[in-house]
Every structure is written in C-alpha cells, then in structure tokens.
Amino acid sequence: MFTLCLFTGLTSDTGCASCAAAGLGSSGSGRRTRRRLGCSCRCCGRTQPTFPPTAAGRRRARPPGTHPSAGGRRQRPQQRPQTRAEKQRGKASSTSKTADIEKPTESFTLSLESSDDEAPEEVTFEDSKAEALRSMKQALDTARREKELLKEKRRKRQELFQEQKKRKLLSADVLEEIDSASSKKQKQSEDEGEQEEKPEKEGGDGKKKKKKRSGKLANARNLKGKYTVTTVKERTLASFQQQVAEEFIRSRLYGPGTCRTTSNEMLSLQNKKGWNKSAAVQFVKKDWASKEKAKAEKLKKRWLHKQQIPSC
C-alpha cells in the first residue's frame, strides 16, 4: 500500500520522508493544510524560512505554473517569453493573469519558490468560486465588447451605403415629375373609352378637363354621364413592347460600352480648343453646375475652419 504525500507528491509506503523531516504529519486524507515551517525547494534545494500562513495566502491557491524553474508545466509567466498563442489571445489575458498574480505573489514570492515540497496552499471554496465567476464574467465581457465593435462597424458601413445611394438617386422634384407623368399615363388608358364619346359630347369636355385636373385622386372621382369603359389589355401589351424596343435602342446607343460623355465636357473642350480659349463651361456660365459649386464652397469653409482651429 502506498501513500501519496499530498504536499510533496511523493509516494511512499511509510510516509513522506521529507514531510516527516519537516515535521508535517503524513496524512493520507485530502485535507490540505498549510504549515510552513521551513520548506526546501525541490528543484533548487534552497530552504526558505516559512512564514505563518497569512490570510492572503490562505485565500489564494497556488496558481499553476507559478514556480520559476520547476520545469515543464510550472513556470512563471513573467519571465517566460510569451508564446504566440498567448500573444493572440491578447496580452490582456496574460497581463490580467500576471496582474492578478502580481499582487498576491508579492506576498508569496519568498514562499513560492520554496514551496515545492510544501503542501499546496489552501484555497477556500468561496475564493475559487469567486475566481471562476470573475474569469467567466471577463470572458463574457470581452466577447460582448467584440460583438459591439463589430456591430458598430457594420452600422457605419450601412450608413455609408445609404448615403451613397441617396446621392445617386435623382432629386426629389424630378422624381415627383416622373410620378405625376406615370399617373397621368395611367389615367389616359382609362380615358381611352371616354375619348370615343368626345366628338359628340362637348359638354363632357369640361368634366373631362376637371378630371384631368383632379390629378392623383383618380380613384376618388365619380363617373358622371355616359362613358364607356374599355379594357386596357392590348394597350399595355403594346406599350410594354414599345418600352422594350426603346430600351433596346437606348442600351445600344447609350448603354454600357458606348463611350459617352456629358454636354458639359463637350462644350468645355470646345472652349479649350476654340479660337478664344476660355474656361470650362461651368465656370463661364454662372448657372451651371450649381451643386458642385455649393459643395466646393462648403469644403472651402470647412478647410478654412480647420486651419483656424490649431492656430487659435
């Protein structure tokens, strides 16, 4: 039957000799008490005077790997160069560990080096629970922070895209015009049947005009008088085909691959190459490119403002 010395980790049948020498009773039980009466460091043989177990010592179990040169597993992280894994995890983790270790190890320094043969430090359940909770919280914190950072990035990108899209879209009044033109076209297809009656009924003319005037309230008007309603199927089909054909011409002449430029460019080049050389058209004519000019003004103001700030 062998006994495992809990303090030194030696197995012996009679009990740990070193523990016996140190005066520690060989206790085969799991009780871990710490009595430092003089430990000799197993690896370096130094005998360190022990101090009465302090409250701080009790609280803290010896964290693994704290021994400077225990070989292999037990190595102090301060003196060991950081591994790549540790670097990837972030110095924070190792520094947190070391930071945590720093304070208590100050009190331990002397004791740790010589505590190889000693029994492990006593750590209460609350301590370890607190420790575990803390580390978990930390991990959660870091994870949450990372998620937030990513979210921020994504949100910013989305905003940027929205802005670009807004800039690309036409101005609001042009869109309104297009809207009203398309609603007018819809009304025309409904007026088709009405137009049959037109030559006979001039009295209806005023009403029709009023209907046209009512604009977007197409659904709200009331059909008075004699009006025939015809189906609009063929017309929409024809106009769809017409749109396809117009799209074909437009894409062949103005679509991608055709090198086209703007009228502004062309006129500016004419100004440049003409007999009386003058500036590009947007500078020659006052009402051209007003948006670009406004933007340039804003930029100029901002730049001037920036220049003034460090000086004052």
Binding site: Q195, P199, R252, R260, T261, S263, M266
Partner: protein
C-alpha cells in the same frame, strides 16, 4: 430712332426635339422630317427651305421611319402602327396596326404599289397600297431577331433586310430568304456584343451597302452573297445610310456626328474599273446623326442635336453663291410666343403645355401665373392670347379649348369655357380680334370660323369662305386681324393671301399671288396696309382700302432689297408696329431684329446694311446722310419673339442655342490630342 426700355426674357425653356428620321420626295421637292416627340415637319426645298407644315406630335407615337409614296406620306413607329398623313388638313388620316410589334422600318417599292415594313417579331410584312388606304397582303418568312432595316431592290423583286449579325435577302414573290450575309462583329473588346445592321441600301446592280453598329460600311455583292469591301469609318455606330437617285453616291451618318460620302468612281482616269471609294467627310453635327437624305445637289442631315443641316455638294452647285451655302435650321419657322400688349403677358407654347407669364416691372424676373396641361396625348397645334390678356385659346388636332384668364397682382385664375360651338373642331390657327370680342379660327378647306367670345358664352357667328380655282384646298397658316376690327387677313401655304371685310362678313379681295410662301403678315393699325414678308425675304405692302400695292412697296421692289438682306437664312416670324411712330415696322428673325423706317430712303445697292454702329460714331449732323430705312440690331441673339407693348417697352424673348445644347443627351466621347 428712339430709345426703348427692353424686357429681356430668357425664361422660355424651349427645347426642340431630336430628329429621328427624314424622307425626301424628289418629285415635289419636299422633305418630311419626323421628330422624337412624334411631330412631322414638311420643308419646301424650292422655297428657301421654308418649314411649310407642321403636324403636331402625340405621346406614344414614336416614329421610326418615314416613306413617301407619290404625294402620300406614311410613317411607322414603335407603337406598331402605320400612319398615313393628310397633308392638307395636317393630321393623321388613319392608322393601321401591323400586328407585328414595334415597327422599325418602312419602305415602298419603286412602282409605289407595295409597302414593306420590318417588325420586332422578325417578320417582313407586305402591304398593298390602294387608293385611300393600305391593305395587308402577306408576310415573308419569319426569322428570329428583329428586322431593323429594309430596302427594296429597284426591280421590286428582292428585299434586303438588316437584322442582328446578318443581312437577309428575301425574294419578294415567294417570301423565301434566298441569301444570308453574315456581318462581322467588332474587333477587340466588343466581340461579345452583337452587331446590329442599322441600315441597308440595295442598288440596281445587286450591290448591297450596309452600315452597322460596329462602325463599318460594307459593300456586298448581292448575287453571290460575298463581301466586296469594308470601310471602318468610326469607332461608334453607323446609324443611317442614304443612296442618291443615280446610285453613284452613298452617304453614311455616324454617332460621332460625321456624315461620310462614298462615291462610285474609278481610281484612274479611264472609266473601266469603278469601285466605291470614300470621298468626303462632313462634320456638321455635335451629336449623333440619325437621319439622312441625299438629294440631287445636297446632303441633308439631322440628328440628336435637333438641327437640320443642308450641305450642298460643291460639285453640283456653283461655288460661292447663295445656293452653295451651308444651311442650319435650328428653330421653327413660326412664332411660339404670344404677347398680350395691353396687359404685359406672355404666352409660351410648348408641345404639351402652355405657360403664361406676367412681365415684371423692374429688371427682376417675371412671375409665372398659370400652367395649362393638355387633355390626352395630342400635342398643341396652335395657341393665341387676346390683347387684353383676358382670353386664352389653344387647339390640338382633335379639339379646341378656350379659357378666361383673371390676372390679379400676385395670383391668377383661369376658367375654361365649357361649351364651344361644334364647328370649332380641328383648327390650325387661332387669332383674337383686337377688342377681344371675337375669335377667328382657321378650319378645313381654307375657311375661317368666326366665334363671338363673351363672359357668358361662346357663340358661333359665321364662316368666312372664298371661292377658289384649284382643287387642293390648303390650310391657312397665318391669320391676322386689324386693330379697328374691320379687316381680317389670311394666308395659306399655296401663297394666297385673302382679305375679308368683317363688317360685311365677306371676302374683300385677294392679294396678287407671289411665288414664295408668306412667313408672316400684319395689318398696320393706322394706315390699314397689309405688310407681308415671304420666305425668300421679300417684303410687300398692300393697301386694303385701295386694293393695290402701296407706293412704298413699289419703290422697294424697283430698288430691290440688299443681297445681305436676301441671303439671311432664317425667315421673319413676327411683325409689330410702334404706336408712337406710324412709320416704323418692327420685324425680327432668329439672329436680328430690324426697325424699318418708311420715311427714310432705301439703302443703295453698295451701301452697308448693318450701319447702326457706324452711325453711332458719327456726329448727329452727318447721320442723316448715311442712314437708311433698315435699322438692324444684333445685340439679342437667338430671338424667339420681339414685340412692343402698349407702354412702348420692347419685349425680347431669347433662347440662346448654348442653353439648348447644354440640355441635349450625351454625345460620344472623343479623345482629342492635348485635352
């Protein structure tokens, strides 16, 4: 001369529409031009390129091709319909749906018996041309892919059709496709892009000439189906081709704005080995050239830059004469601006709307008062504003509208008059009498309908007609009422001017016919003389009371107008008078406005016409010796209208060409050295 306060108006946003296609009728020397908004204009090449007739457009009528058959004009468009136009009444006579989808091209055979149309669905449909209509005959064999261009062989036995990537030759009798000519795609990066054969020409020796979107003009032998010669003329598309009548010259129009001529000549002096050689390049356009016509003496081109350019060929006309000058027609040859002299209102006529503006007191901007939209798709044919500014009328091909306007300080309202007489159906020209109590409308068969206009109602009064010798009854394109309400002058495109007595409501007399069409007429408020200016820039003054030309007019004719005056290329579109000085006649064309002083002598033949600047520099005493009747001012350019208000201030409506050019669609980007 006088000093005038000038209202310089630049807020008329007139935007002409791009020229889509054109067709020349060599028998009648008329050119039909179709624009992108569906309007069709007829120019008379015999009469100084005057724009005789304008058939207003329609929304949705996207004309792609025009074709003359004798005196009849046919058009086909992307709405799938073939339309024949009534050139006397200036409206579409009827439309026939081809049921093949959008129609891309239309062409008639040389005998004028059959009409071939190329459709979106890949069929070529043949219609028989009958007396008053056309009738569907048959389809040729259907092919995959749309038919973009067509051309009949002069013998009417074959048809060459240009599609995507190939040209097919059909036998017109059987409908079978006999040959297929495969067109190469563009070199380089656009190998994947299909090449579209935009235009083909078929000559009587079975040579086919094609222009395609890869920028090539190719000459094929139609009998063997082989390629004879390729010319790469541009990096962009060759949009249109036109073959001259004697088949010795072909012109090609490109997206770059150039027109290239190929001639069938021999490279050596002997006549044996003739071949097609590229000869001239014309660069008269800034945007795409989409329409061409090759007349006997000139090359006529039009495109996206909305201008019609007539370039006479210098080997067919005499150099350095009026004949050989380049002509650019950018503005319409009639007035689109109406002016209410007493109220200071301006009416701008757009194809789809009217804008009424009140002239501001100071140099500030005028205020806009009302916007009137048209019903349906028809575009506005003509409009009129009464002198007091209280009545507004406009007409389309199908209807007439009359509005009562109330203009207050900052607000205005317009009320439509509901019940109009049924005689006012399709009207080509409108004119209010000077006291705004009557409205004159030119209706069919050269007659004028007189309608009384009042607060309560609009009542038909009378129809003024005249007996005419000729069978063709032309529409009246000019109407003018005298200030005292007694006379009405009308002019039609057959160069006839008729005077009606409104008190008796019958024809008073007819002015002797001059062989050029009148471009504008006006009746002098004081002397009641009719001033008429014609398309060849001649001016006549006719006394209505005495029914003969006045002394001044006879003196002018004997003396003759200066050549600088006669060589102006834009017609006079408006005449107005000065209430303060009855000797003054104010005329304007696109590039100048002129005050003719009837009390001053005419310029000598070697005198300087534009002598205003020199006169300014002379001391006052010497000026009398040098001055002559024509006082021309060129300060304001690209005039749409010049008018004199009752308070003696001049209203000048300008539309600079640069403003129009800046709003045109995108031109091609040409890489030039050092830019």
């Amino acid at each position: 001369m006088g000093e005038f306060k000038v209202h310089r108006v630049r807020f008329f946003d007139y935007m002409p529409s791009a020229i889509r296609t054109m067709a020349f009728n060599s028998q009648t020397e008329r050119l039909a031009v179709a624009r992108a908004d569906g309007a069709v204009e007829i120019f008379n090449f015999n009469d100084n390129f005057f724009q005789e007739k304008v058939i207003p457009g329609q929304d949705g009528r996207a004309i792609e091709a025009l074709c003359w058959v004798g005196h009849r004009l046919f058009s086909a468009g992307l709405n799938g319909e073939i339309t024949e136009y009534d050139l006397e009444n200036l409206r579409p006579q009827y439309t026939v749906d081809a049921y093949g989808g959008p129609i891309w091209t239309i062409s008639s055979n040389s005998q004028g018996t059959q009409l071939a149309v190329g459709c979106e669905d890949g069929t070529v449909k043949i219609f028989a041309i009958l007396e008053e209509r056309i009738q569907f005959q048959r389809n040729l064999n259907r092919h995959k892919g749309r038919i973009i261009s067509l051309c009949w062989h002069p013998s009417s036995a074959q048809i060459a059709a240009g599609m995507t990537d190939m040209i097919t030759i059909y036998d017109a009798e059987t409908g079978q496709a006999t040959r297929r000519l495969l067109v190469d795609r563009a070199m380089g990066a656009s190998k994947n892009k299909e090449v579209v054969v935009w235009s083909v020409g078929y000559l009587s020796d079975h040579t086919i000439i094609s222009g395609d979107s890869a920028g090539k003009v190719q000459i094929w032998n139609g009998l063997t189906g082989t390629l004879v010669r390729t010319y790469l003329v541009t990096k962009w598309d060759v949009l249109v081709l036109s073959v001259s009548k004697d088949e010795s010259s072909v012109i090609a129009g490109t997206s770059e704005g150039t027109v290239i001529q190929f001639q069938f000549i021999s490279s050596t002096l002997d006549q044996h080995d003739k071949e097609w050689v590229r000869t001239r390049t014309f660069r008269n356009h800034s945007h795409d050239v989409s329409a061409l016509a090759h007349t006997d003496t000139a090359v006529v081109s039009g495109g996206m830059d909305t201008q019609l350019v007539v370039r006479p060929l210098l080997d067919k006309v005499e150099k350095n004469t009026q004949e050989s000058a380049l002509r650019k027609i950018a503005f319409p040859h009639r007035s689109l601006v109406g002016c209410a002299k007493k109220a200071g209102l301006l009416l701008f006529q757009f194809p789809d709307r009217l804008e009424l503006w009140k002239l501001g007191e100071s140099e500030g901007h005028g205020e806009q008062h009302t916007h009137t939209h048209t019903l349906g798709e028809d575009h506005i044919c003509c409009s009129a504003l009464s002198a007091c500014g209280g009545w507004l009328a406009y007409s389309t091909v199908s209807s007439v509208r009359l509005y009562r306007i109330h203009v207050m300080i900052s607000v205005s309202s317009s009320l439509q008059v509901p019940k109009l007489p049924k005689e006012l159906r399709s009207v080509h020209q409108l004119c209010f009498s000077s006291d705004s109590s009557k409205l004159f409308a030119s209706s069919c068969q050269s007659s004028v309908i007189v309608v009384a206009v009042s607060q309560q109602e609009c009542r038909y009064l009378h129809t003024l007609k005249h007996k005419t010798v000729s069978t063709m009854l032309y529409r009246l394109h000019l109407l003018c009422a005298s200030d005292d309400g007694k006379w009405l002058a009308t002019a039609n495109t057959d160069c006839e001017i008729h005077i009606y007595n409104l008190h008796k409501m019958k024809l008073h007399c007819m002015v002797p016919v001059y062989n050029s069409c009148p471009t504008t007429i006006a009746i002098h408020p004081v002397t009641n003389n009719l001033i008429s200016v014609h398309a060849d820039q001649q001016i006549f003054e006719f006394s209505l009371v005495q029914k003969e030309y006045t002394q001044w007019s006879r003196r002018l004719q004997t003396q003759g107008l200066l050549s600088l005056w006669l060589e102006r290329d834009t017609p006079i579109t408006h005449i107005t008078f000065n209430p303060k000085n009855p000797d003054h006649i104010i005329l304007h064309d696109t590039y100048m406005f002129c005050i003719i002083d009837q009390s001053l002598p005419f310029p000598e033949l070697n005198a300087v016409l534009w002598n205003q600047m020199t006169l300014k520099n002379l001391p006052v005493s010497q000026r009398i010796g040098q001055s002559h009747a024509f006082k021309i001012c060129k300060i304001f350019q690209h005039l749409m209208c010049v008018s004199l208000l009752e308070d003696l201030s001049l209203v000048v409506v300008e539309r600079p060409l640069l403003d129009i050019m800046s709003q045109l669609p995108a031109p091609v980007r040409q890489k030039k050295f050092a830019t």
